[in-house]
């Protein structure tokens, strides 16, 4: 029954969009796939509930209309019935328990290195937003891009998200759900791409005048092609200086651009001892190498607390 419904709904959804699947339901990576599965599963169960409610409503309305009854019919006084109430509580409770189990499992999946990618070293990319652009820093490769993102397929990617300004939300629907980028802490989003291709990425959280155009392009490619691209960038791109980056941060829209070096060196991200607070520090161990200078002083600070 569930699968019949699932297929039915999926078909309707597909037909409605002119045979082009909806972006979120057309996953190209393991995280997005987990999420799409959860979505389809919950649509199936929820459709069942909707149908039950509709059926009861239609039954009551056809059977107990005043026009269908004799004039002197007096509806009886009925208190609740313990068995009816138990069923009305019991079945929803079972459904909620089932969905809770699925939800907890999926939470742990999307908050960890994608399944099947555990043996590979994740590629760390710092994605920071400023009004209304995205800056992508590749510390491993020591390059930085603006408003576009190249990633290798079949390798887990750890996005480190933060913002120069309002809260934004980093979202590549076909690779996985979004997460907030904020000015006082770094969030980690685990994604991976299974299939090479071009994907839409955007800021999903309203951040002022230029929000609608606050998008970026994502290109997933094989590891070899990715390495070629990195080599090419290193050969051709100009270095990212502090002055240049300050210019990039100015509010406005920019096209795509590429640099060697990253801004992480002169403007460390708000994590660990550079964070506004001490939460989120569980992720800081990996990144301390970027800010050795402040390490000793902040270590002692931690001890005082």
């Amino acid at each position: 029954m569930k699968w019949v419904l699932l297929t039915l709904i999926f078909t309707i959804a597909t037909v409605l969009t002119g045979c082009e699947p909806l972006m979120v339901l057309d996953p190209k990576g393991p995280q997005a796939e987990t999420q799409a599965k959860d979505i389809m599963l919950s649509i199936g169960i929820m459709s069942f509930i909707v149908l039950v409610v509709f059926a009861i409503l239609i039954f009551m309305l056809t059977k107990y209309r005043a026009s269908k009854q004799s004039k002197d019919y007096e509806p009886p006084h009925i208190e609740g019935n313990i068995w009816v109430e138990t069923i009305c509580v019991g079945i929803p409770v079972l459904i909620v328990i089932f969905l809770s189990i699925v939800s907890v499992q999926s939470n742990n999946i999307v908050e960890a290195t994608p399944k099947g990618y555990g043996d590979k070293e994740p590629l760390i990319i710092y994605a920071s937003s400023s009004n209304w652009k995205w800056h992508f820093s590749y510390p491993e490769e020591n390059i930085e891009t603006v408003n576009y993102l190249y990633i290798p397929t079949d390798r887990p990617i750890e996005f480190k998200l933060y913002s120069y300004g309002p809260i934004t939300s980093f979202w590549i629907p076909q690779l996985g759900g979004q997460k907030y980028a904020m000015s006082d802490m770094v969030n980690t989003l685990h994604l991976a791409a299974d299939v090479p291709g071009e994907y839409m990425g955007r800021n999903a959280n309203f951040s002022g005048k230029g929000f609608a155009e606050n998008t970026f392009n994502v290109k997933a490619m094989s590891e070899d092609k990715y390495d070629d691209w990195v080599k090419e960038v290193k050969k051709t791109a100009k270095p990212l200086t502090e002055e240049k980056f300050a210019k990039l941060l100015e509010p406005g829209h920019l096209g795509q651009s590429t640099y060697t070096g990253t801004h992480l060196e002169f403007l460390p991200p708000p994590e660990g001892e550079n964070g506004g607070h001490n939460h989120g520090s569980s992720h800081s161990s990996k990144t301390e190498k970027h800010d050795n200078s402040s390490e000793t002083s902040s270590e002692s600070e931690h001890h005082h607390q």
Binding site: V53, V96, F206
Partner: protein, 647 residues
């Protein structure tokens, strides 16, 4: 000249200038009309100074309908802008202001006064009381709300509207990124209205706990009264959070504190947390009274007692507790990690259980009933399927891993409109039609009423169901435009048609009010719907003192008992009735609050100090004033009762 510059709109457009002219002309017309017809005295004596809960209820109702119009115009403009790709009707700034004010107006200045209108009018009548516990405080609640609403609404012609979303997340809403006074209006106007709401909460809890008719035990209260009690309990616990939050926001914007800024240790998540610690209970503050209305309407027109009274009460109490335990689901994507998200995911989905119990109880109330489909009943019956769709999508959003994909998208927008419109708006329209004869002494036209109900329900589906799809296709909310290549065009066009349909539906309701006022028969019984609870046991129009003799109650459907089983509601003789005096203080105090708020918005410190003194003077005056109310004599009661019975 520099001084006046600050009052200019930073972002003018012909539409705003036209509105300025329209507002100016309306004000002149009202003043001229009142003077010409010599109605100033009437207005002052009968309305501005009234402490009668019924009149306050009606004033809340008028304000809510006006604000529904304002918020509706915002909505139509938004849908029109998005109807086609790359539309140039509105620019980004204008669109941002419109969706911000749409949200605030609809939640704080439309839905809230609408539920306040029904609670004010119905609760004292339903519990057999003569007024609320603190009538003058009640008047103050209304006038504070009203002045807050007015202050908020002048923002778009003086100084500029807020533009950071109704959630007003910092740092976007801070001075760093929102320089105009728009967000000051947000902080101050909602603060003033919120104070009024908090007072209402205290007032109605006291009223319901202390002023019920003899024999009305807690478990014999009608369901709307129960809903109101639970709602006001939520208000008392949730609104102080908003008060503190807005005070901190005000200090950040005006006095350079750093609660939510990007620098100096400010913490932007703090705003989101506080906002939703208030914001999620707020959702239930809106929906529980609506559930109360549905319970009354469905049992009245199924001609049967409400099925599962005890579980109805229990589920509301559980909802009220859970409402404080789910706020984090508004930002699953803020990086709390899998454990926190899992906990809030489970509490969120758990709310579906008590809500489901209520839904099934309404369905079983229809069982073995004798269903008569009137306009209020039609709204209630249309509510059930539409709300179910909205509700189950809420469970879907509650699954936090999947929420990463729904968050900030049109899917979410579709969800909350599909619960708030059938949940709250349909209920208010049902309540409006249901209680209209008690309020005004004539019925609204049933034919036009049913037509508008059908139009509104189908348009709701048309306007919001496409958003589920465009959301899953990657359309983020609050985008002022999109390109054709995204493929969002058709979805948004259908939404626009739905929005236009909603406009037609609401226009039809206004026409119905006009039509019925003109043509409806004034010769109606005091119980035109053959209803079940005490508010229908008194005369129409309701006399000032509500009940000449306080009713004796034996069950949750006291009036039905009286009608069907010959139970005598009104036992005993007339006695003189003590009633509160009218007072101008609440109105004057609220006017001072308006000027206070305006001075705050524009950092005009001298008027701010003067009005602050004025506020304390008013409160001191009230404290030292000797006002013991007045008595209505037995002779006067007899005369009124005889007149009403004769009529």
């Amino acid at each position: 000249m520099d001084f006046f510059d600050r009052f200019a709109i930073p972002h003018a457009s012909p539409a705003i200038y036209a509105s300025m002219v329209a507002i100016g002309l309306t004000v002149i017309a009202i003043i001229a009309g009142l003077t010409y017809f010599k109605k100033w005295g009437y207005l002052w004596r009968e309305w501005l100074t009234t402490v009668d809960h019924k009149r306050i209820g009606i004033m809340y109702l008028i304000s809510a309908l006006l604000m529904l119009f304002r918020g509706g115009v915002d909505a139509i403009m938004m849908r029109a802008q998005l109807a086609v790709p790359d539309n140039k009707l509105l620019d980004a700034q204008h669109y941002n202001e419109i969706f911000t004010t749409h949200g605030i107006v609809m939640i704080i200045f439309m839905a809230m006064p609408f539920i306040m209108a029904l609670m004010n009018f119905v609760v004292p009548l339903q519990i057999g009381a003569r007024d609320v516990a603190f009538p003058r405080l009640n008047a103050l609640s209304f006038w504070l709300f009203f002045m807050g609403a007015m202050l908020f609404n002048i923002s778009f012609v003086i100084g500029g509207s807020p533009d950071a979303g109704w959630t007003s997340y910092f740092p976007l809403a801070g001075t760093e990124f929102s320089e105009s006074v728009g967000s000051n209006y947000y902080m101050i106007a909602i603060q003033i209205a919120g104070l009024g709401t908090l007072m209402t909460g205290i007032n109605f809890i006291t009223t319901i706990l202390k002023m019920r008719a003899p024999g009305m035990k807690l478990m014999k209260m009608p369901m709307f009264t129960w809903a109101s009690l639970v709602t006001n309990a939520i208000i008392v616990f949730a609104f102080p959070v908003l008060t503190v939050l807005l005070a901190m926001g005000t200090m950040d914007r005006l006095f350079g504190t750093h609660f939510f800024t990007t620098t100096n240790g400010g913490m932007d998540m703090l705003w989101a947390n506080f906002f939703w610690v208030w914001g999620h209970p707020e959702v239930y503050i809106l929906i529980l009274p609506a559930f109360g209305i549905y319970s009354e309407v469905i049992s009245t027109f199924a001609r049967r007692n409400l099925y599962g009274y005890k579980s109805m009460v229990g589920s509301m109490v559980i909802i009220s507790l859970l409402s404080f335990l789910v706020w984090t689901h508004h930002f699953f994507t803020m990086g709390q990690g899998a454990l926190t998200n899992s906990i809030f995911s489970i509490t969120t989905m758990a709310i579906a259980v008590p809500t489901g119990v209520k839904l099934f109880n309404w369905l079983f109330t229809l069982w073995k009933g004798k269903i008569e489909i009137t306009t209020p009943m039609l709204y209630s019956l249309l509510f059930i399927p539409t709300f179910t769709i909205g509700g189950v999508t809420g469970v879907m959003l509650g699954m936090s891993a999947a929420d990463y994909q729904y968050h900030n998208t049109m899917f979410l927008v579709a969800h909350f409109h599909m619960v708030i419109i059938p949940g709250v708006v349909f209920a208010m329209l049902a309540g409006l039609t249901f209680y209209w004869p008690k309020m005004f002494g004539y019925m609204l036209n049933e034919k036009i009423g049913k037509l508008s109900a059908w139009i509104i329900a189908t348009s709701t589906l048309l306007a919001f169901v496409p958003m589920f799809f465009s959301g899953l296709d990657g359309q983020a909310r609050r985008m002022y435009t999109y390109s054709e290549s995204t493929g969002f065009g058709p979805w948004n066009m259908v939404s626009f048609i739905g929005a236009a349909g909603l406009a037609v539906g609401f226009a039809l309701i206004v026409y119905n009010i006009y039509y019925s006022t003109r043509y409806a028969s004034r010769d109606i019984a005091s119980d035109p719907w053959d209803a079940r609870s005490l508010e229908w046991a008194t005369h129409t129009p309701v006399p000032e003192y509500n009940f000449a003799i306080l009713p004796q109650v034996k069950s949750s459907e006291a009036f039905w008992d009286a009608k069907k089983h010959g139970h005598e509601l009104f036992q005993g003789e007339y006695e003189k009735i003590h009633m509160p005096n009218n007072s101008g203080v609440p109105f004057i105090l609220s006017c001072i609050f308006f000027v206070w708020g305006f001075s705050f918005v524009f950092s005009l410190w001298i008027p701010l100090i003067l009005t602050t003194i004025g506020i304390f003077v008013c409160m001191a005056y009230r404290s030292f004033e000797k006002d013991h109310g007045h008595y209505i004599t037995v002779a006067e009661i007899e005369e009124t009762e005889n007149n009403l019975r004769g009529a």
